[in-house]
Symmetry: C2
Subunit: 130 residues, 2 copies
DNA sequence: TATAGTAGGTACCTAGAGGAAAGTGACTAT
DNA sequence: ATAGTCACTTTCCTCTAGGTACCTACTATA
């Protein structure tokens, strides 16, 4: 069903960019967005510092930037509690959750094919062309 | 089927990065790779300049870089014909073609949800929080 | 008194990605 | 003799994503 015909058909919708997925790739797969969405989906509603600690290597500045972007795109819902100390909670939106099957698909492809990529890299590096 | 359980199950495979899809995202969705793979899949085996013209805005330097990377990752097959002028043909590999359903899935999500993202952005911009 | 915790904001800096433009080599067509 | 083709390569330059470090206000705790 999701075969070559789908791909070709979808391509017709945006002939000028030669790739109808460019827009969605920028939204969904720009830097840090997958770990953030993944963590939010995995652990449910959580606070800024929890997110920061779970992702591990992200800096607060960048985490804020990405969360704002995801909020603007409607993928994440931010709830501010005006307390002291301040409390802010982030959760994935319905739109964000609608990516779950896609992410699962991606994870499945990775499980099936990542070792092939590794193998190809090894082959290329041990016997470089020309 | 591809629901929350899949997502969670996949997450268990790489606890340290908090996101099992990071690796595959870098391989498949790094800059220019989707337009290149899309064009290769759409128009079949083709030469460097054809690719260049179809993608439109890419520079030869970057196109070469991305094609090398895709070749190393086993997504693209390069064939060199030592003629004058030189002739090089690129085609998508079997591994690359195995991404087709995933890309179709992505295009489907885009068709269903891109306008929601647009709407969310508009709402955010016309009535910014706080 | 001073320190920690929270959710950021701000200023500064650097590395690296990517663009522009020209060059290359070997041959062909005019 | 000159120009053109192809598939790059090289050089130079810009831009920006992202990192480091420090700052904010307010309170509870030691």
């Amino acid at each position: 069903m999701a075969d070559n015909a789908d791909w070709v058909a979808a391509a017709e919708t945006d002939p000028e960019l030669a790739c109808p997925t460019s827009a969605v790739v920028e939204i969904v797969f720009s830097r840090w967005t997958t770990p953030i969405l993944w963590t939010l989906n995995r652990h449910g509603r959580q606070r800024f510092v929890e997110l920061e600690r779970r992702i591990g290597t992200i800096t607060p500045k960048v985490l804020t930037q990405r969360l704002r972007q995801l909020e603007r795109d409607g993928m994440v819902v931010r709830t501010y509690h005006p307390e002291v100390p301040p409390r802010v909670e982030y959760e994935i939106s319905e739109l964000g959750r609608s990516l779950a099957p896609l992410f699962a698909h991606l994870a499945e492809w990775a499980a099936d094919n990542l070792d092939k990529v590794e193998q190809a890299r090894h082959d290329y590096d041990t016997d470089p062309p020309k």
